[in-house]
């Protein structure tokens, strides 16, 4: 187990490093170089030269990378001239909100998808399986923004049940009007359930085909015992891995949802930043979000290792069956 953990953590570190390198490359992909991108198209050559000197942009690339990386690690993610504040403080305001939105949605999605997927597997090829599968299929295949707007149309505009816009302001304001969170959370949750329940269904079906299920039945175990005592535990471990792997996709979905509901998270932030060509913010968001998913994935793998006794003991533990 320890060996597995060490291995996974060192892998994660390498990945984080690579993420930072990618961001750094992106920084230098900008037309006219980072200076022009940050200062804007009206900057004069003198200003640019001064900027370059100040920020060490005339040194060789690896040196620049090192400076940049050390800066990042000490919390300096640059300065947004558009928003007139350090990128890190903008992120500090917005990141918790996105984390909250995504977190609640994923939690709900898992809580609903597992029983639904289990039910689908048990009722395989029966009418209810087909109905549920069809519904989840269609949900899965519908663009998230349409789902969001349909929800708004029906629940907010016509039935006036929930507000169409998310609460603005500080993190605490989110809890001021919980009903305003319902639709954004519902959007992400619905789309995620569709994917997760399919996965749970096939995971459970795969487990049911295993020999140990036959063995349990041969001892006289009935449906409930087999499902609860044997299958569920084994079918859920891959779901944990799924959680880790699906984080980037969930965050992409969150971005759309934030845009639709005007929810003040990092998704909306990067979208607005794109419109205003605020490159420091864009890059900062990409860096932080990338790092967050690496960490999230690592955590999921650790949980998986705890759940699966084979990984706990194995020498060559590679997470994921």
């Amino acid at each position: 187990m320890i060996r597995f953990l060490v291995r996974r953590c060192s892998q994660a570190l390498v990945v984080l490093l690579l993420v930072s390198i990618i961001i750094f490359i992106l920084l230098h992909l900008l037309p006219g170089g980072p200076a022009r991108a940050i200062l804007g198209t009206h900057a004069t050559p003198t200003t640019i030269a001064a900027f370059n000197r100040e920020n060490g942009l005339d040194s060789p690339l690896p040196v620049q990378y090192w400076h940049w990386l050390t800066g990042v690690l000490s919390g300096n993610l640059g300065f947004s001239y558009v928003l007139n504040q350090p990128v890190s403080s903008v992120l500090a305001q917005r990141l918790p909100k996105t984390a909250f939105l995504a977190g609640i949605s994923v939690l709900l999605a898992v809580l609903i998808a597992v029983p639904v997927g289990l039910y689908q597997a048990v009722r395989r090829a029966r009418l209810d399986d087909y109905v549920v599968t069809t519904v989840t299929f269609v949900l899965y295949s519908t663009p998230a923004f349409w789902v969001a707007l349909l929800l708004i149309d029906v629940l907010a505009v016509r039935l006036h049940l929930f507000p169409a816009e998310a609460p603005q302001g500080a993190f605490s304001a989110l809890f001021g009007d919980p009903s305003a969170l319902v639709l954004p959370v519902a959007t992400i949750t619905l789309v995620t359930i569709a994917a997760y329940s399919r996965y749970v269904r096939s995971s459970v079906l795969d487990e049911l085909a295993q020999d140990y299920v036959r063995m349990a039945r041969s001892k006289g175990a009935g449906l409930r015992v087999v499902l609860l005592r044997h299958v569920l535990r084994n079918a859920l471990s891959p779901v944990v891995t799924l959680l880790g792997v699906s984080l980037p996709f969930i965050l992409s979905g969150t971005l759309i949802t934030e845009q639709v509901f005007n929810y003040p998270g990092v998704g909306l932030l990067i979208f607005n930043a794109a419109e205003q060509q605020d490159y420091p913010v864009m890059l900062g968001v990409v860096l932080v979000v990338g790092a967050a998913t690496v960490v999230g994935s690592l955590l999921a793998d650790i949980v998986y290792a705890i759940l699966d006794p084979r990984v706990r003991a194995s020498v060559n533990g590679e997470a994921g069956r």
Partner: protein
């Protein structure tokens, strides 16, 4: 066909199969997996069921344990003790499985739940059928593990399957199957997945367990060596049907059915001259979805004649068909002449 006569044993046979047919419905066809099989096993007796892959012996084993899929249609009767297994509801089947009939499958690694401890899996049947508490089941499991020859049984209780070797796992599986002391033990290829040394140990274990627990044992295998010297009677299956059955020594010593003879001929012996062509049975087993009249082995049989293609041979035997403990076969042209030494210098027939 074969008449069923109560066989030897204090109170009659523990396991009795009468005219069993098993059809498996597939999407486009029906597979006639088992056709008109009858056999009996008495307490303390071991019967071997022998045949190549796909001959229906595994399906027979599953039928006996009540584990057939719902796409299976059975006709005929299976009695365990005095309980009927065919045509019975799921609830009654559950009561029979594990308590009256224990079954051991081929691959011990996949038969065990990888995330559950050994002790819990071995004791499971006891908790299901006798309502034993967790501690009682644990204690019984430890005893059972000791009985099957697992060293330091109490320590093994909390281990996971991947921590045990193949032989130990198979012993654990056997312990799990026997913990309720079922009347019948079905062992489906119990040693195929194990290395040769372990095979011998497991087979010795079966012998010992049978002596101590006195259950009727059905040894299903394609390996005749497993059966020889261990089973008192052997039942040779081909294409879902009974080919030949009788006391093991007799069947192996003077096989009458052409298929049995051919099987025995394919076994390599020490006396085989070097560079002799290995004998193999030409052709392949028939398609079980076809409705076969006549003897299924006919297309591959060197002694086949027109009648073999039209009529399934009735049981024939030295002591009269169906005689208890007797030797009988279904062949129009049984082997009569003493067979030549299995490997002359002929090329494959």
């Amino acid at each position: 066909m074969t008449a069923a006569i109560p066989a030897a044993g204090a109170s009659g046979p523990v396991l009795r199969v009468d005219g069993l047919d098993v059809d498996i419905r597939l999407r486009r066809s029906v597979v006639h997996a088992v056709r008109d099989v009858s056999l009996e096993v008495a307490a303390g007796e071991t019967v071997g069921i022998v045949g190549e892959s796909g001959c229906g012996k595994s399906t027979l084993g599953l039928a006996l344990a009540g584990l057939l899929p719902s796409s299976a249609v059975t006709r005929g009767s299976i009695r365990v003790g005095d309980r009927e297994v065919t045509g019975v509801g799921e609830r009654e089947l559950r009561a029979i499985r594990g308590a009256e009939v224990g079954i051991v499958f081929q691959d011990p690694m996949t038969s065990l739940n990888p995330t559950q401890r050994i002790g819990a899996q071995v004791g499971e049947a006891l908790r299901l059928h006798r309502g034993a508490s967790r501690e009682a089941a644990r204690a019984a499991a430890a005893d059972m593990l000791d009985l099957v020859g697992l060293p330091r049984p109490r320590e093994q209780l909390d281990r996971f399957p991947h921590e045990l070797s193949g032989g130990m796992r198979q012993r654990a599986v056997i312990a799990a199957a026997l913990i309720c002391e079922p009347k019948v033990l079905i062992a489906d290829e119990p040693t195929t997945a194990l290395d040769v040394t372990t095979q011998a140990q497991i087979l010795e274990l079966f012998d010992r367990l049978q002596q101590e627990l006195g259950m009727a044992t059905l040894l299903i295998t394609h390996d005749m060596g497993v059966v020889a010297g261990r089973a008192s009677r052997v039942f040779v299956m081909y294409a879902g049907r009974e080919a030949e059955t009788g006391p093991t020594a007799e069947v192996f010593g003077s096989a009458k059915h052409r298929y049995t003879a051919a099987l025995l001929d394919s076994i390599l012996r020490m006396e085989t001259p070097r560079h002799a062509a290995l004998y193999t049975i030409p052709g392949r087993p028939p398609d079980l979805t076809a409705d076969l009249a006549g003897c299924p082995f006919a297309p591959r049989c060197p002694a086949a004649s027109p009648i073999c293609g039209t009529t399934f041979p009735p049981a024939a035997g030295a002591d009269g068909p169906g005689a208890a403990g007797g030797h009988w076969w279904h062949c129009h042209h049984p082997v009569s002449e003493p067979r030549p030494a299995p490997h002359a210098t002929e090329p494959s027939r």
